[in-house]
Amino acid sequence: MELTGAQALIKSLEMEGVEVVFGLPGGAILPVYDPLLDSSIRHVLVRHEQGAGHAAEGYAQVTGRPGVAMVTSGPGATNIVTPLMDAMMDSVPLVVVSGQVPTTAIGTDAFQETAITSITMGITKHNWLVTDPADLPRVVAEAFHVATSGRPGPVLVDVPKDVSNARTSWYWPSADDLDLPGYRLPRAPEPGLVRRAAELLLGAERPVLYVGGGVIKAEASEALRRLVDLSGAPVVTTLMARGAFPDDDPRCLGMPGMHGTWTATTAMQRADLLVALGSRFDDRVTGKVATFAPGAKVVHVDVDPAEIGKVRRADVGIVADCKVAIEALCEALEELGSTPEGRARPGTPAASRPDLGPWHAQLAKWRQAHPLRYEQTQGGPLKPQFVVETLRELSPPDTVVVTGVGQHQMWASQYWRFAEPRTWVTSGGAGTMGFAVPAALGAKVGRPDRTVWAIDGDGCFQMTAQELVTATAERIPVKVAILNNAYLGMVRQWQELFYEERYSEVYLSPDLPDYVQWAEAMGCRAFRVESPEEVAPTIEKANEIDDRPVVIDFRTDAFEKVYPMVPAGASNDEIIEGPAQGEGGR
C-alpha cells in the first residue's frame, strides 16, 4: 500500500492506539493535518503550543498512557520546549511530533526553521529527525517504546515537510524491527539484593518507606499496600507520589520535605532505614544532603540505574521496575516469615524482628503535637487551606486535582486527602507556572468520567488561562479554583521570610484582571468568593455544572504562608512551623 509520509505518520499513531492529539497546525506540519481529518484520532486545538504539551502531560498522568502533541516548526516547536522539560523532570511519557522545513532547506535559515532536535536534546529522553519517509512507522514505534518503557519520559519526532509529502509503502514494524541497539531495559531484580533489602527491613527499628512518583508510574500501589502490610513500615509520599498510598491510612505520614508534614520529614530524619521506592532524593525532599536522615541505611529501588547513588549512597541498590521489585520484596518478606496480618510465623527471622510498636507510638505522638494547622475565623480573611479542605469535602472522592506552582500547590498537596493514584497532577521537578489549566484540560480528556478540579494561583492562571477557550470550544468541562491572593505568593513568602519583607515585583492585584469577566469571556461559568460562608455553596454550584468549564475566583488572605517550611539549603532538622494557633497568620 502506497501512502504519503503524512498518512503513514497518522496511521502509525493509530497503530499505537492514540485516541487524542493536542496541537496547533502551521506551515511545516500542514501535510500531516490533512490525513488527520480522515482519522479516528481526536484533535484538540489548543490556543498556544505550551498548552498542547501540558495537556498531553495531564492526559498521560491520569491515564498512564503516553500523551501526544503536534506542533509546527520554529516557534511552534520552541513553544513546546517548556512542557518537554517539565515532562523530563517528572518522567512523563510524552510524544511530540513537530513539523520541520524540507530537508533541502535545513541549514539555510529557512522560514520557521529551528534545530529543535538540538534544542531539545537535553530535555527529551530521545529525539529523532526523520529524513526518509520509509523510516516513519519504525521511528514512531521506537518513539512510543522509548517514551513509555523503563523510566518514562518525553520524546520528540521532527518531520520535515518533504518527508511527510513524499510517498512510501506502508508497513508496521514488529518489536524486532526496532533499531535501538543502545536502549536497554532493566532486568528482573537480583534475588540476592532483594533478600538483603528484606533482611534490612526486618532488622530495622525505625523504617520508613520513602515513596516517589515511580510507584505511580509503575502502577505499583497495590504492591505497595502489600509491602506496608508485610513490613509494618510507615509511608511518606513525595509531591510526585501523592495518592500512591491513601492518606487516610494511619501508616501514611503524608508528604516529606520543604513543605512536608512535620512528622513525615522528621520520621525520615530519625529513621534507621529508608526504603526509597521510585524516589530520587530530590533537594526539596532532603534539604541539606549532608544532614539528611543521618542514621538511616538506604535501600534504593529505581528503574533508572543513574538514580542509585546519585545523591545518597545506597546500602542496597536495586535497579528494576518498582512494581516488580516491590512484589519481589514482598515475596522475600513472606519467605522470611512475615504475614500480611503483621504476625510473624514462629521460628522464622520475622519472629525475632524488633517491635515496631514504639516507632508507631512515637509517630502518633508527633502527629498529635505537630499537625498541619491554620485558623479560619468567622468574618476573617478567607484562608486558602479552608478552600482546599472544603473543595475536598464537597467533591467526589475520586476527583482529579491539578495544580499550578506556588503556595496554592503546596496547600493543595497538604490539605487534599488522596485516596488513589493518578488523581493528582502537578509540576514537581520543574515547577512550571501555568501548568494547571492546560494539564487539567488534558486530564479531563483522559478521564471524562471524573470531576477535574484545577487549584491554581492567580499568577499561574494568567500564564495559560487562554486554554479555557479550548476547553469551552471542545466541551471539556474542567473546573478551576483560583486561590487569588493578589501576589506571586510563594516568592512573596520568601521575600517576607528571607529578605526582610523587601517585596520586589511580587504584587499582582486582586482584580486586575477581573477573573470573573475574563472567564465568562472565555465561555466559562464564573463566580467570585470573598468570605468563608460563600465557599461551600459556590463549590456546590460549580460541582453541578457539567456542560462547560467553571472558574471560581477565591479572594484569599494575601498574608498566609505555607508551613511547615524548611528553608532552602537548611537541614531537615530545622523545620519552621509558623505562628502558633491564635497568634494570627501574619
Binding site: K125, L193, I308
Partner: protein
C-alpha cells in the same frame, strides 16, 4: 567497580571507550550530556569501527569533576550509546599523534631530527627556517617530546587526544557497563 586512574597533568583521568551508533548528532548528544551535567572532557577522539553502523569514542574524563560511576550511568542512558567500557590505563594500549612546527635553522634542524627520531617520529615538512614533525606515542611520551621541542621554539602544535584498546590478554579487565551491578 574499579577506580583505576592515571595521574596526568596533575589530576585523575579515566579512559572510557564508548561504542555509539553512527548517526547524525550522536557526538553532540555526548558532548551536551557532559556539559549539562558539569563533567569535564579532557580529550576526545572519534573514529569509525569495522562495523559501519557504529563509531567509537575514546573519552578521557577528568574525574575530579564528578564520580565516574555517575558519568558512566548517565552516558549509558543515551539511546545511541551502545556500550561503554572503562579501560584501566595499565590494561590499555594508548596512542596519540602529535604534529608540531618548530623553529629550526642551520644546526638546529639536525638536532630536531635527531630528537624526533628518538621518539620514533619523523620530520614531515621542511621550510627555510622551520620544520614540521610528527610523533606517535603514549600521551606521556608525547608530553616529553613536547617538553624537549619547546626550547627550539614551537610555532604551532596539535595533538589528537588518545585512542586506546585493551591489551591482549587483559580483555577481561574491560568492564562493560551493562554488567555492573548497582
Amino acid at each position: 567497580m574499579s577506580t583505576s586512574a592515571t595521574v596526568h597533568g596533575g589530576s585523575r583521568h579515566h579512559i572510557l571507550s564508548v561504542l555509539v551508533e553512527n548517526k547524525a548528532g550522536v557526538l553532540a548528544r555526548v558532548a551536551s550530556l557532559f556539559s549539562r551535567r558539569g563533567y569535564n572532557i579532557f580529550s576526545l577522539a572519534v573514529a569509525p569501527t569495522d562495523d559501519e553502523r557504529f563509531s567509537r569514542l575514546t573519552i578521557v574524563v577528568d574525574v575530579e569533576s564528578a564520580p565516574l560511576e555517575q558519568i558512566i550511568r548517565q552516558l549509558d542512558k543515551l539511546v545511541n550509546v551502545v556500550q561503554i567500557s572503562e579501560l584501566a590505563p595499565e590494561a590499555a594500549i594508548e596512542r596519540e599523534l602529535l604534529l608540531a612546527t618548530v623553529r629550526a635553522e642551520g644546526p638546529a634542524r639536525v638536532e630536531v631530527a635527531t630528537l624526533v627520531a628518538i621518539f620514533q617520529g619523523s620530520v614531515i615538512d621542511v621550510g627555510p627556517d622551520q620544520v614540521t614533525v610528527a610523533v606517535t606515542g603514549t600521551p606521556e611520551a608525547l608530553d616529553s617530546a613536547e617538553d624537549l621541542l619547546r626550547p627550539f621554539g614551537i610555532v604551532e602544535l596539535q595533538r589528537t587526544g588518545r585512542v586506546a584498546l585493551p591489551r591482549l590478554g587483559a580483555r577481561r579487565r574491560l568492564t562493560p557497563v551493562a554488567d555492573r551491578s548497582a
